[in-house]
């Protein structure tokens, strides 16, 4: 029988776990946002008289009430917490209504009268790129939020040396994170003058920055505490921090606790989405199957605000050729402002789009050359000590791409089953298809930014331990992973260790818990802190070095010195406190923005996923039969939870291929709730198999790499490939609109 450890499982399975909206405070007020009815306009007047006339309505606030900075952002500060003079998207918040009850606040919000001078909205990124297009954010000086390049080799030579040239355009749509818990925040001004914030957000520190900046106060005057969060998937970074900033603004101005809980409709209207991409590929190959060049232009619709568009599109740039060796590359990726809902971080972060294209393109090329899809990948895939398109030599870790592919193909019996594919056989009653895709992925932030994390190990006089890191529990089980790493490196049972209630006032900002970096960076910091703690204990014991195993302290030769408890008591009696602060700084990376060359990420992970499906030739209904994934995770700290990431990632990837789409009409997202935005339900999904590949990475103190995002970046192309094998038709637009 399985026994999986999670420090929060008991609370979550009994209903004891309190999420933000479950909290209430004496004297608490409720806020509700007011939205515009168009995507582009000048704000003429906001008249709150009718709303304020309702008994129980306390206040209506607009941008003019913000004491600090109106515009916020992680990279470019272009997002107004409350819209100021201009409407740039239908998700802009014009005003906040505060009332004694949520029901009343919602009712009053509908009574706020807004006069707008409507302007034509720019909704097509290609139009926004035109020279004479009106500027969405005039301060930025261009509708191009950012451009990234790769220039490798000589594209002209690549063209000349190619026997086959393909040109294909792929598109992907706007995707909703659809975390089950919509955004919420509860803020109150403490007696010591500190604004205390709890909220459904995955980066407490950017939330603190946003709140402090909105209120015009110092960082030490804001404390953001963590409570259980109902899913994030990248979607509760800056967009959720803004919700907290709005609640804090109301609490600050009214000196009463204020809760702002979003309905699903508000969440879907306002929160950022996965970037829609248009990807125009030109690929040249030798008759042998070897890729000679890739020329690609990508346009990502960033929507009205920057958010992390420059970082998302950077990953697409670095990984624009998938996991293949390509000697000549010319890549331009544009992040573009439009009046659409803004785009930001979502699990995968610029790679699901690229993989959707490249993992089909490689098979399309193979078919033209008469080389099967497995051989095509073998010919071109990155192997040990190969050099990536940005000039990075893969010699610091095990390059397990072929291992991942072979493992999955064997598990699913690809070679045999591939022969059963229908290719749209007109006399078949049912079509069958099997497909797969492979990927590599740069770990953590890479050259996006400073990449470090810290951990505190605070041993109590009785030998029990409090730990804390700068990593946020998004639901993935990061606190549990940190406890397990501490347990291993301190040589004590996990039951002796508790994860301390995290707060921005306890530990330095370790960056946001995104980019599959939680276990990698936070776990690294725990290992570093454990190393320091061993030095502290050694000092108390007056020996040069100790080992910690089985609740015992050993000397360097392995001789028993004393028990863990005795050693800790000795530390306290000598006033040598067993308190360690460890920092893990990710190894250096490099990037040249002009040429797109550099060691983009300090380490990489490798993966393969495959799928079997059947289709009804008449209705074209797709039934998924089986999904298999193998991922190199470095080292699995909590294997069952790692597998949980595999399953969830494959499921989300299947939804990306088949169900999920968030069309926008006049800048307004058309699906308003989860009845019109289709997520994969239990009967839509097949049984899944998760295979862990472990090559502990020497560059990471715990050996672990990341798993959250890699699992969600290749099921969609695997399904597209399987559908091609079932129907004989290539679908190059996500979601696959099968006719």
């Amino acid at each position: 029988m399985n026994k999986v450890f999670r420090n929060d499982a008991l609370a979550k399975v009994t209903g004891i776990a309190k999420y933000t909206d479950d909290y209430t405070m004496p004297g608490m007020l409720h806020a509700a946002p007011v939205y515009p009815n168009c995507a582009s306009a000048r704000i003429l007047k906001i008249d709150a008289a009718d709303a304020l006339a309702l008994p129980g309505v306390v206040a209506v606030f607009t941008a003019g009430d913000i004491p600090g900075t109106i515009k916020l952002g992680q990279i470019i500060k272009d997002y107004p917490t409350l819209a100021h003079k201009t409407v740039r998207s239908t998700g802009d918040v014009l005003a906040l209504v505060v009332a004694e009850s949520r029901e009343l606040a919602l009712k009053a919000a509908s009574l706020v009268r807004v006069e707008l001078e409507m302007r034509p909205a720019l909704l097509d990124p290609e139009e926004a790129l035109q020279e004479n297009a009106p500027l969405i954010n005039p301060e930025h000086g261009s509708n191009i939020c950012n451009i990234h390049h790769v220039r490798t080799g000589d594209i002209q030579k690549g063209e000349e040396h190619s026997d086959l040239i393909l040109e294909e355009t792929f598109t992907t749509g706007r995707i909703e994170h659809a975390y089950m818990e919509p955004e919420a925040a509860l803020c109150h001004l403490r007696p010591d003058g500190v604004m205390e914030v709890i909220g459904s957000m995955q980066h407490p520190f950017s939330t603190r920055r946003f709140v402090a900046s909105t209120l015009g106060v110092k960082l030490c005057e804001v404390e953001v505490k963590t409570v259980p969060m109902g899913g994030g998937f990248g979607g509760k970074d800056d967009t959720a921090a803004l919700v907290c900033a709005r609640a804090a603004l109301c609490a600050w101005l009214l000196k009463r606790p204020v809760k702002l809980t979003y309905s699903r409709e508000m969440s879907m209207r306002e929160s950022y989405k996965r970037h829609p991409y248009k990807m125009q590929y030109r690929m040249g190959l030798k008759n042998s199957g070897k890729i000679e060049f890739v020329k690609v232009r990508m346009v990502a619709d960033g929507g009205a605000y920057c958010s992390v568009t420059p970082w998302v599109t950077w990953r697409s740039t670095v990984q624009c050729c998938g996991s293949y060796r390509v000697p000549n590359v010319h890549c331009d990726v544009f992040g573009v402002y439009t009046n659409n809902p803004f785009s930001g971080a979502m699990r995968g972060f610029g790679s699901p789009q690229v993989n959707f294209a490249i993992e089909q393109l490689i098979e399309m090329a193979g078919e033209k050359l008469g080389i099967d899809e497995v051989a095509m990948r073998r010919i071109n895939m990155l192997k040990q000590d190969d050099t990536t398109i940005t000039g990075q030599k893969l010699d610091t870790h095990v390059v397990s791409l072929s291992q991942a592919m072979d493992t999955v193909l064997k598990e699913i019996n690809y070679e045999k089953k591939r022969k059963l594919c229908s290719f749209g056989n007109p006399i078949a009653e049912e079509w069958y298809g099997i497909g797969f895709a492979i990927s590599y992925r740069g770990m953590s932030l890479g050259a996006e930014g400073v990449d470090f994390n810290s951990a505190i190990i605070n041993v109590q006089p009785d030998g029990s331990v409090l730990i804390e890191t700068g990593v946020h529990e998004n639901g993935q089980g990061s606190e549990t992973a940190m406890i397990l790493i501490a347990s291993e490196h301190l040589g004590i049972p996990k039951e002796l260790i508790r994860y301390r209630l995290p707060s921005t006032s306890n530990i330095p900002d370790g960056g946001t818990t995104v980019a599959s970096r939680g276990t990698l960076l936070g776990g690294g910091a725990v290992v570093k802190a454990a190393e320091l703690l061993r030095k502290i204990i050694a000092e108390a014991l007056e020996v040069p070095e100790i080992k910690l195993e089985n609740s015992q302290v050993l000397d360097a030769s392995g001789k028993l010195l004393m028990s863990w408890e005795e050693a800790i008591r000795l530390c306290f009696s000598k006033q040598i406190y067993p308190y360690a602060f460890g920092v893990f700084q990710a190894p250096r990376v490099s990037w040249d923005e002009e040429t797109g060359q550099g060691n983009a990420y300090f380490t990489w992970v490798y993966a393969c996923q495959a799928v079997e499906l059947k289709m009804n030739p008449k209705t074209k209904k797709v039934t998924l039969l089986n999904m298999v994934a193998a991922h190199d995770v470095g080292k699995a700290i909590n294997p069952e939870l790692v597998k949980g990431q595999f399953y969830g990632g494959m499921a989300m990837g299947a939804g990306y291929a088949l169900f999920e789409d968030l069309p926008v009409e006049n800048g307004l997202v058309r699906p308003t709730n989860l009845h019109t935005y289709k997520l994969a339900r239990a009967v839509d999904l097949p049984e899944m198999t998760a295979i862990l590949i472990e090559h502990p990475d020497k560059q990471t103190p715990s050996g672990a790499k990341g798993v959250g995002e890699p699992t969600n970046e290749i099921m969609a192309p695997a399904i597209a490939n399987a559908i091609y094998h079932a129907t004989g038709i290539r679908y190059k637009d996500q979601p696959l609109r099968i006719k």
Binding site: V13, G15, Y19, D22, M180, R264, G475, A651, H675, A682
Partner: protein, 161 residues
Amino acid sequence: MMQITVNDKIHEIPEELLEKSLVHWLREDLSLTGTKIGCDIGVCGTCTILMDMQAVRSCKLKLKDALGKKLITIEGMQSQDGKLHPIQQAFIDCGAIQCGFCTPGMVLSAYALLHKNLAPSREQIRKAINANLCRCTGYQQIIDAVEQAASVMRAEKQVSR
């Protein structure tokens, strides 16, 4: 009779509350916040409770719909001595919990199934939890958990005979 029983406790319902949303009453008036609100239109399943052992979406119901009924919320799943229900224990043991926001509703949908059928197939489990969305798990380990719980409950039933 203007009463609703929640987790074995009888609540007298005043006239003016009859039109109130059941989920809001549970969360706000009874502080049973284990029942969640994810969509408020009855499609996500996070507000699932049991009404006379049927899984229902409490956001779609008003108090008047629950008069005279016996409700079970996630807070009512543990036995009096605090022991977890086998379904709860199986969710923990099988790694069926990630963010946990769907968990209460999932547990209750599973309970409604196992109340009727102690030996469901994986396909039957899928159908039973189909009204409950989960964005984290792909349902795989949730289905494992329901299977495991069924096996534990079957064994318990054998013993009690």
